[in-house]
Symmetry: C2
Subunit: 260 residues, 2 copies
DNA sequence: TCCTTATGCCAACGCTGTAGACGTTAAGCC
DNA sequence: GGCTTAACGTCTACAGCGTTGGCATAAGGA
């Protein structure tokens, strides 16, 4: 296995294809679209590329390495469709939606990659951008990191969740989506009063992503914290209850972490 | 395949095991712990059960059916460790953390199931409980459904994301966790000023789950909306900007949905 | 005790990811 | 232009996978 940058001899395949990392990644994305998230196999990828299956292993450390490269590509695409305006709130919202949308444009790929951290260049670029927006907006470093953490994990988590729903093959997805009008809407009010009372609302809402809503709430919370910090800065007063990211949450986070 | 409730003839395995859905689910959970999230195979499960691999197919519709049953089991366990107090905010927080914790107690299983909706009894029970808490707290049906949607998807999304990190085998996880002290902390301030400036804070924070923080923010937003609704109820005034779940978000959600 | 059929077992099919040896051919140098 | 060298595509093989259909058998109702 040789890193892409050091490749010198580009020798065509028996069928005439000249391979490269990006060609393989793009072919893999197309295959994921056509054959579903379980349809990315070395052999199929080989035939699609006009090359022997094992050739892929000269470019990536197993299919897992290819998967990480795909994630990096999706992150890069998100960044490319986004442009800063200077309004931190609008910029973060747009960036979050861009990441989410970029992954959901390839749900079958997103399922495989959204919960992996690659640490590759474009991903780092996104992180740097987010931190820059927050620090530029006047957040303290501590707050900026806290909001960044919540922001990026929220985007990835919802990308993975929503991609999972979209990645189901049509038939299965239809069945899943109809669950709110079939299973849930038919529960009797005697045993499930609250579901029964809200069934139409549920059917209308549950097949959409909750991400935009939650993202809005998160940014509201961040804005409140920013305002609070400014107020404290002027008055020298202690922090208010506010955003719910205080001591108790840190303890929860620690507890959660040590669960494994 | 016969539903568990109608099973009459319980015939022991050649090795003496008497099978049942719950025995299989529990064995599968144990195997996931021992062999990782890719370690649940029909053949291995068979040997672990002291039975032929194909026997599992008499109890579940393929490994996929087994997977859904595992998800249902985890959801049930979350509900069992939780008790209502009457304080809607505390109750929701505790329930969210319980779901998150239940999945993270079996990260390898959570990876497989957290983004699947099963529509099975214990899952419905959780949904009914959440809606009950919200409607009991005085939310309108519309608001209750909106908060419910955000709440449950948030819990599942973070369960999946955090489980993904925990499910990596020790060696890989350690490498992942050290990325914040190795890769990120070493980026030069000239190219990545914001990451460089916050590197210690990042290293301290990024290996914990952001879920408790985000959950807190979500509940804060919900509380604000509840207070706003009450105020509107008294004064008859229109809704304020507030929680960020207004018209614009609904449009975003629709846009996102039609992406596929 | 007998009959039915649920249920466990077996064998087989067509896949999978990946390792290692092999041979061809492009690149770099003179 | 010709030579050398090793990068890179190809071939072969292995061990394992999910799943299915047929078969034997024993459990439970009569």
């Amino acid at each position: 296995m040789v890193p892409e940058a050091e490749r010198r001899r580009r020798r065509p395949t028996r069928q005439g294809q000249v391979l490269s990392e990006t060609l393989i990644v793009e072919t893999a994305l197309r295959m994921l679209h056509e054959h579903g998230s379980a349809g990315l196999t070395a052999r199929r990828l080989g035939t699609a590329l006009g090359a022997d299956p094992s050739t892929v292993y000269r470019y990536f450390a197993g299919l897992d390495g290819l998967t990480r490269a795909i994630g990096e590509e999706l992150m890069g695409r998100a960044l490319d469709t986004w442009a800063a305006t200077g309004d931190w709130r609008a910029d973060l919202r747009a960036l979050g939606l861009a990441i989410h949308a970029s992954y959901l444009a390839h749900p079958q790929a997103a399922v495989l990659t959204a919960s992996r951290v690659t640490g590759r260049p474009r991903e780092i670029e996104v992180d740097e951008t987010i931190l820059g927006i927050l620090r530029g907006a006047g957040f303290t470093d501590t707050d900026a990191v806290a909001v960044y953490h919540a922001f990026i994990d929220l985007a990835l988590a919802f990308a993975a969740l929503d991609a999972g729903a979209l990645a189901l093959k049509d038939e299965a997805r239809e069945r899943d989506e109809q669950m709110w009008t079939s299973t849930y809407a038919r529960l009797p009010g005697t045993t499930h009063p609250h579901i029964a009372a809200t069934a139409p609302l549920l059917a209308e809402r549950m097949n959409r992503s909750a991400y935009p809503t939650v993202l809005g709430t998160l940014l509201d919370g961040a804005a409140a914290r920013l305002a609070g910090a400014h107020r404290r800065g002027r008055t020298g007063q202690g922090r208010s209850r506010g955003s719910g990211a205080g001591r108790a949450d840190a303890e929860d986070a620690e507890r959660v972490r040590s669960l494994s």
